[in-house]
Amino acid sequence: MLLLICLTLQGRVAGYSRHGLAQPGVTQAADTIPGRAGTPASAADHKVSGTVRDSSGMPLPGVSVAVKGRPGVGTTTDMNGGFFLDIPGNDTVLVFSMMGFTPRELVVSGQKPVDIRLHASAYHLDEAVVVAFGKQKKADVVGAVTSINPSELKVPSSNLTTALAGRVAGLIAYQRSGEPGADNASFFIRGVTTFGYKKDPLILIDGVEVTTGDLARLRTDDIANFSILKDATATALYGARGANGVILIATKQGKEGRPVYSVRLENSFSQPTKNIRLADPVTYMRLANEATLTRNPLGITPYSQEKIDNTAAGTNPYAYPANDWLKVLFKDHTMNQRVDANVSGGASVARYYVSAAFMRDNGVLNVPKLNNFNNNIDLKTYSIRSNVDVNLTKSTLLITRLSGTFQDYVGPINGGAQVYNEIMHANPVLFPAFYAPDEANRFSHHILFGNYGTGNYINPYANMVKGYKTYNTSTINAQAELRQKLDFITSGLSFNAMVNTSRYAYSDITRSYQPFFYSLGSYDKASDTYTLTPINPDEGTEYLNFPAGGGTRRITTSVYFQGILNYNRVFNNKHGVSGSLVYQAQNNVSGDFTSLETSLPARNLGISGRATYNYDQRYYVEYNFGYNGSERFDRKHRFGFFPSAGIAWNVSNEGFWKNRLSRTITNLKLRATYGLVGNDAIGSPRDRFFYLSEVNMNDGAKGASFGSVLGNPYRRNGISVLRYANPDITWEVAHQANVGFDMSLWNKLNVTFDAYHTYRSNILMARASIPGTMGLANVPSANIGAATSRGIDASVDYNHTFSKDWWIQGRANFTLAMSRYDKYEEPAYEDEPWLSRTGYSLSQSWGYIGERLFIDDKDVANSPVQTFGTYGAGDIKYRDINGDGQITALDKVPIGFPNDPEIVYGFGFSVGYRALDLSMFFQGQSRSSFFINSTTTAPFADNNALLKAYADDHWSEDNRDIYALWPRLSPDVNINNAQPSTWWLRNGKFLRLKQLEIGYSLSKRLLDRCRLKTFRFYVNGSNLLSLTTFKLWDIEMAGDGLGYPVQRVINLGVQTTF
């Protein structure tokens, strides 16, 4: 946002623009001061006017229009994309360029208005890239920074995090749930290299640390810049906070001009990508009986033949229930709506950007007509943002940014995932969802919910309709930033101070009634009548109640201050020098505390700095440091110093290059960095102060009661140690090395490639050498672990405009992130080296090798003893790795790929012809594995449902398939089969059509008639197709397949500006 003006020609950089661009932090002040941008040319021959638009037809403000060969002559487009320019003569070549777009040249002759379109590019040399506490020109960046065009993050979802996978080189991301409000994707920059709790990157919006939830709710239309910082030099300025990488986002600022309004409306049709298929009720009963008898021929079968026959015959559905809970509780699709609107404009003194958005996300729950309140998930999100900048003096700029996000949620009591969960644990044949009243209950006002026995079975229908939960969240952010140019002290010096405060508030409440449960008393087949037995006549209520003590209420407050001193100057047109000194302090207080320690504020304090030098835009040197304090450590370790340095060589700016190779390889820059970054977010969030012991002086679990009066004993709670003091615990340190290059071929194909190696040392981990006989209440930790991660991130993009009407873009990116334990304290596995984690990925799984199912009891007798629980023919046979004749934990070996994917990639293209545009984007991941959860999917155990796949393919005495999908049935979880093993391991590899979009923009003629500037209509869809071998559920959900499914969305949208 800061710098939209790039008066450049390809391959050559105009002197003054170099000056402007290379200046981090304060450049905006300079360039938004009016009068600087368009300098009237002398010797004007005639005027030319025109409009510049993007590929979808939206006008582009702030595009620089320059005359080729005449530096100093040019202008920028206004808010409507229009420009006027005096040009020196006919056949002048105009160069249109803007950050994030491929520049275009146009020969202008005559005075015909020019209408030109620029196409977005993912990469351009002269882009300003948001870096730590400022901006740098892409050409000057030494560290590993990926910047992407915010429009690439535009997906038909209210959740920005779902757009990240496969879009950004260096980001490992995946989404496990599709539930509105709980569908955040998990994402890690360059994978995970720590054992601590904080694995995800630092996220900064307008310089302020925010949560994943805040990022999720940010609207793409508000984003001006989106960068991720990956290596030590890029993140060093964040010191303690940057070890897991940084996501930097800047929101839009206003532009001078008449107000421009923009409105976007979307309506989405959303349905699960894949639904789980369950066996029919008759099969369920038949196999439940089989499960009992196959394990115990004398066992009492749960379902009589009479019940099975009547159910199959469809006799009275209340007496012989057969529920398809999925159908009862879910619809096949739902509709969601989104509205985004913004206005921007301003004058020379002040500019504004104000936006508002409204989103409504609905769940796929089927709301019953019997109930008088709606408890389908209904999540409404409102957000508003106002960014205003004011020129206080010629050299002073004041920016205020206010934003608020508010959510109102209504939904089932324990969330949508819980509804799915309950369906998987609900018996389909013991009782119906509710009974039609029998004679005795003709006048009951309440629903006669079905249940059984003591009423402790899960009736998912009753649990869903009995009440609802509402929650409200508010996030309010207020920020003031002052930018002061200090050129009067020395040229190139400036100062910037920013104060930000955020408040997050959450409160929820559950309202529900206590359902009345009934079980079938008797059924008379002759008259087809039944009687019901009340199960809980005294506990049920017909009215709503709320929990004693109310719901949860949380308030989080954070205050952040930063001050930056910048210096930036080019001497003799050769020596570029810049420096920054940053002071920052942060204070967070969370209202969500569970102990005295967690109630204390979390603080962070730091001074960091950056110095860069470049010689003639060819040789670059950069040095950074962070000096940070954390309240979590003992005084002697409280501050950590983390330096880093980098060098770069812009080969294509060398003289020898220009003559020979510059036509093919238009740009080539080589980069290398090395440095340290600290991390204080180690252990668990509860472990606030490692140097202190933590004691629970009132531990109810450790007390005792005495006295002769039972029911009123003398009781005192005990005292327990939650943590032993350890003043030696200190910073985790990441040693990060990065090499990379940026290359452009024919000015059309851009390649960025980075390879990195990170060695993380001092990782806090629990001591493994302390035997249980020490009697410690908890295992002490120490900074003893170490891990390495290695990988590459690469991105390629290609832009080509064939003619005035035809253009095409392609892009692809690839991320490989492999981690490895280097030091992991564990017992000395002298005889079982395969148990050692050293050398394996941090998310590697260990398990047994499931060879096959046992053929028969003779096979069992002739095999090593398996020590987990009862087993026999048809159960999983494991391999005895150490050959000691029994299967124990010592026989676990590393199996499969790591849990977190090591490779995430995406590729896609966009093509446009006149008013039509089409884009497709594919996303995939590979080198990951997951376990099918063999406990939660175990049929019949805990009344679990029976997956159709298991019903169709399991070992039985009649069908002794030793490679069946499911082993021998069992009425409970068979512990032997539930062990983690290759039997349940699946490859998490997939490739999916993440997005497809077709757009149509109205022609200029029509637009003028409607007095609109642009009008675009589009249809897009996400998660449309998946290529995978896994069939049970959506593979991206991995082992948690019984949760709320990932959604496929078909979306209609219009966007207009006027």
Binding site: R638, M697, A725, T870, T888, D942
Partner: protein
């Protein structure tokens, strides 16, 4: 903006950074640390109670393996039904699933249903190291509390010793930063463990009180009588075959090659046990502990037969009755009653508010004597050999035992009062539970479809047809058809009958049969309403001289213990120390065919489970991961 203002602005960060240290000092003074536990009497008391908190819950079927890891009670399988959550790791042991990977009911690790006793020992040591620091406490109280902590430390070692055999002894805590070599402690031979436990209990006894003065707030805390009774139990165990000259594990040796188990029988151990039992009985009797008699505040005018039954039942279920030496107030009998309660009448046919699934296998049913006080297999006056699964109809003469005119198994007739006091079955009378009408007492009807039996539903039924109603307080009521109200009682860990029989056992082992030995057995039999040993065997047994030999009397005493203390969590330990488990636990678990509704079908012996028991099962395995961490540990034999 002028220069001055500017400099001020620039100075802000500098000002702040000069107070960096302060800014990051967010922890206020007086954050609680472990030292705070010993600054006041009240927190020291809390710490003492923490030491108590590791005490195994003796009356809990989940944590005391004595209930379900043996053969005394059984559940239907699979046991899980919604609404009841019970840890049955102990039962998995009985089902043959004990393992080295994550062992079941591991008191060593504190996992799978057990408390962490080494953690408990550490807390006791911390308490002992620090109690002297507490200001303002009387010395006598410090000594008293210390004695309790010392006893608890000994008791936790003792519990581990019973389960694991040789164990590492942690008499002093190792510092947290102890070296790798120091923390790798070794297991000690069982004799050293026993002498450590006994020595430590003796140390504690010096400062323990003889009686609890403030019963309302302190009853249940350790007293000298408790310590002496435990010591008697420990020494008896040390003298018993499992630990005294057990040659089953000759190759089980420590790193120095010394066997963990002494290989030669030492008769002196019985002498020591005898002395300890005598001392324990003397001190307990001196403080008024005596066999319980049912004497409710409002008399029910019970006939003698019911009086005897209630004498037997209330010896367990009356809270701190006259014979309870040690009642564990931290293990009040709630769930165990809930599990044992049968449905008592038609009004409660669908009362599922209690579980009622604790089932007694037929072998335990058969263990009870005939009404003549001799084993069913030996009674020459009664025809038990021919009864089998036959049935018989009750007469009016049996109306306090079995519902008149009700037909039930023939083996349920002619049994000793303890049979009727301890067991509920199809047709049995159950006194109390809100019904004291002697002419219309509740009785059970337990065939399929009857109110006590299996209702054809997947839950709340008894898989053998016998309930251990001995554990159920007669005061428990079912106020409505969907509720159940329990009157709990502190679990009786040690009661006088136990000590008497222990003493008799020692007397026989040291001196052989004697009048003194008979006296103690007979006092228990007398309360149980059966003839004295000599009379019973002489008059009714096919082996009339059994009591006259040491071996014969040993069998009689053993059986008397098993019957008298049935379902109280003693059989498991006794069978192990006598080294009889390898025989007894090999017998199948059987019951009636409870899925049948007619007499003929119901009274069929059905085998539920074929248990196996191997020599290794006497001592549980040490977790594989512990062996990896501590290379000095030796795994128990056979694991």
């Amino acid at each position: 903006m002028n220069i001055q203002q500017l400099l001020l602005l620039l100075a802000i960060p500098c000002l702040l950074s000069s107070s960096c240290r302060k800014y990051l000092d967010v922890v206020p003074d007086d954050v609680a640390t472990i030292d705070y536990a010993f600054r006041q009497r009240s927190t020291a008391e809390q710490y003492l109670f923490t030491c108590y908190s590791y005490m195994p819950a003796h009356g809990d079927v989940s944590t005391n393996p004595a209930f379900m890891a043996g053969d005394e009670i059984w559940f239907y399988y699979p046991y899980a039904i919604p609404g009841y959550d019970i840890e049955v790791a102990a039962w998995e042991i009985a089902r043959g699933n004990q393992r080295v990977t994550d062992p079941l009911v591991s008191y060593w690790n504190g996992t799978n249903g057990a408390s962490n006793l080494y953690q408990g020992i550490r807390d006791c040591n911390i308490f002992l190291e620090n109690i002297s620091k507490v200001p303002g406490m009387d010395q006598y109280e410090k000594d008293w509390w210390s004695a309790e902590a010392i006893f608890l430390k000994a008791y936790y070692h003792w519990w581990l010793l019973q389960l694991y055999g040789p164990i590492p002894i942690i008499d002093k805590n190792l510092p947290i930063n102890a070296s790798q070599e120091e923390v790798q402690v070794e297991r000690m031979p069982v004799d050293s463990c026993f002498s450590y436990v006994v020595r430590t209990i003796e140390t504690a006894m010096a400062s323990l009180p003889d009686r609890i003065e403030n019963q309302a707030t302190q009853l249940g805390r350790i007293t000298r009588p408790i310590a002496m009774a435990v010591k008697a139990r420990v020494l008896t165990t040390a003298a018993s075959p499992l630990f005294n000259g057990n040659t089953a594990y000759p190759n089980f040796v420590n790193s120095a090659g010394r066997p963990f188990f002494n290989q030669a029988f030492d008769p002196q151990k019985w002498v020591k046990a005898l002395e300890a039992c005598k001392e324990a009985i003397d001190i307990c009797s001196g403080h008024g502990y005596r066999l319980n008699r049912f004497n409710p505040s409002v008399s029910f005018n019970l006939p003698p037969a019911l009086q005897t039954i209630m004498d037997i039942r209330t010896a367990v279920t009356d809270n701190f009755n006259s014979e309870v030496v040690w009642g564990n107030t931290n293990s009040p009998a709630n769930q165990i009653q809930n599990l044992a309660q049968p449905r008592i009448n038609a009004a409660n046919a669908t009362n599922f508010s209690f579980w009622g699934i604790t089932a007694v296998p037929l072998k335990i049913v058969n263990m009870f004597y005939t009404r003549n006080g001799v084993p069913v297999t030996e009674d020459r006056t009664l025809d038990f050999a021919t009864r089998g699964a036959g049935t018989r109809t009750a007469t009016d003469a049996e109306k306090y035992y079995i519902q008149p005119n009700y037909t039930t198994a023939a083996i349920n007739f002619d049994r000793e009062p303890r049979f009727y006091a301890d067991l509920g079955f199809d047709g049995s009378i159950l006194f109390g539970h809100g019904n004291q009408d002697l002419d219309a007492l509740n009785h059970l009807e337990a065939k399929q479809g009857q109110y006590s039996g299996w209702g054809g539903t997947p839950n709340n039924y008894n898989i053998t047809g016998y309930w251990p109603v001995k554990l159920v307080n007669y005061l428990n009521v079912m106020p409505t058809a969907t509720t159940y109200s329990i009157t709990p009682y502190a679990w009786p860990v040690i009661r006088m009958a136990d000590l008497y029989l222990l003493y008799a056992e020692c007397l026989n082992e040291v001196n052989g049969p004697s009048a003194e030995a008979y006296k103690w057995i007979d006092s228990v039999r007398s309360r149980a309403g059966i003839p004295p040993v000599q009379e019973a065997w002489t008059r009714y047994s096919t082996n009339p001289a059994a009591y006259a030999s040491k071996e014969g009397l040993r069998q009689i005493i053993h059986r008397e213990r098993l019957i008298e203390l049935a379902f109280e969590g003693q059989r498991f330990w006794d069978l192990r120390r006598w080294k009889e488990a390898e025989r007894t636990w090999m017998e199948p678990i059987q019951g009636w065919n409870i899925a049948q509704s007619d007499l003929l079908g119901y009274y069929q012996v059905t085998t539920l489970f074929n248990r196996s028991f191997r020599l290794r099962d006497y001592f549980w395995p040490i977790a594989e991961k512990d062996l990896l961490v501590n290379k000095n540990l030796v795994q128990n034999p056979g694991w």
